[in-house]
Amino acid sequence: MAGPLQIELVAADRVVWSGEASEIIARTSEGDLGVLAGHAPLLSLLVPGVVMIKPLEGPIVQAAVGDGFLSVADDHVSILSEDTWLLEEIDETEVRRELAEAEAANDDDARHRAEVKLRLLGKAA
């Protein structure tokens, strides 16, 4: 039963990452949550933050997510968030520009998204 986790990291308009992993760490509304194989079925709320996936092979995958959900069932983990980006998809200057624009337009959602991306960059640096 304790096989590898099947992970699906899904944004509203695409699948961002999917594959097998041994562990996944995400930030839920109750705090950081690590999921290993054999976890009890769970449906939890994600808060904007960084998700870390330890795949069976290869380097750790990091992604920035916005508001969303984490669902775990039968070693299937789905992370659903309308806004999701992998670390390598984010460009710092781009994000800084977005952040400035969001602040100028007083758009809280956009600012939030940009901040999450920056946090991810900061962690990786």
């Binding site: 308009d13 839920t28 509304s29 079925p41 769970l42 709320l45 508001d67 959900f69 669902s71």
Partner: protein
């Protein structure tokens, strides 16, 4: 005679350039359909997972969430009409609007008043021209909708749905027009390249039945734990579900619009070809008639000269 020949030639020329335009639009629509279909396919995993999560919560909880509970006396319904921004797509917008009118009649027959929300410039002009009220309209993205568009629309609609209706007229602080008990969407379902049909779904109160596949043998929905609580999960989940449904409808409508446009432009191109052929025939006839006349004039002139020379 020569004048009408020139006229026909001009007509042939203008029909030919029209044909080039319609042909180009046909090809553009055809290539965009593929993109629209890919977009729809890319959105499918999110919608699937979300539906699964919503049905899981709905199955394992008996909470009465406002978004899922039927009001006892629904008095006001919102109708979102998804049409196109541009014409030249045959009867595409007309049939969506017709479907919307039918739904409006039905709702009014049930004693509900109807609030209209419009997507697409065609629906907007339809309402403005008839000087009818609508609450809000969104335009400019009908053939390539993004998730942000769906989110904007979804937020407005969910907010309208969650507004408490105040019977007290004095309490007009909240615009009373915004409180609705039901939410319907009229859009065009993309069946295939050849058939698109206008259809209606009721989005709110939520009927989670739609899209819930009956669980296969031994694939029962697991007993989820909800964190932080069932209610809070539902609170966050349902608006997202609404967004995703709206996005789905927008994508279907976009694909349908492009297919309808391709079909309309194809028949326009065919018609132009027919016209060109017809005009070419008439022009040839006119040219031939001109030549015949000139010959008979020359022959007549020569005969007259010969007669004059002979009589001298």
């Amino acid at each position: 005679m020569a004048v009408s020949l020139r006229e026909y030639r001009a007509k042939i020329k203008s029909t030919q350039s029209m044909k080039k335009i319609t042909r180009a639009m046909e090809l553009i629509a055809a290539s965009r359909i593929i993109k629209a279909q890919q977009q729809a396919a890319a959105a499918a995993p999110y919608a699937r997972e979300l539906t699964r999560a919503v049905s899981a919560v709905a199955t394992f909880s008996d909470v009465d969430h406002p978004l899922t509970t039927e009001k006892e006396n629904p008095t006001r319904a919102a109708v979102l009409i998804i049409s196109s921004d541009r014409g030249l797509a045959g009867a595409y917008s007309a049939s969506v609007l017709k479907e919307a009118e039918r739904l409006g009649e039905k709702l009014r027959g049930e004693g509900k008043s109807v609030d209209y929300y419009l997507a697409g410039r065609k629906a907007e002009t339809y309402f403005k021209f008839r000087q009818r009220d609508f609450i809000e309209s969104w335009t400019g993205f009908s053939d390539k909708p993004t998730y942000d568009d769906a989110r904007t629309m979804g937020n407005t609609l969910v907010a309208a749905f969650q507004t408490e209706e105040s019977d007290d007229v004095d309490e007009a602080s909240v615009d009373p027009r915004l409180a609705v008990d039901e939410l319907h969407i009229v859009f065009t379902r993309f069946r295939s390249m050849l058939t698109q049909e206008p259809s209606t779904i009721r989005l709110l109160p939520l009927e989670v039945v739609e899209g819930t596949e009956p669980p296969a043998e031994g694939d029962l929905l697991p007993l989820y734990e909800f964190e932080p609580s069932t209610n809070e999960v539902l609170d966050a989940l349902l608006p997202k579900y609404v967004h995703s449904r709206i996005y789905y409808c927008l994508l279907q409508a976009a694909a349908s619009e492009l297919a309808a446009r391709q079909k309309a432009m194809k028949s326009a191109t065919d018609n132009a070809e027919d016209l060109i052929q017809k005009y070419t025939r008439i022009a040839n006839q006119a040219r031939q008639a001109g030549i015949t006349q000139e010959i008979s004039e020359i022959v007549g002139g020569a005969n007259a000269l010969a007669d004059a020379a002979g009589s001298e």
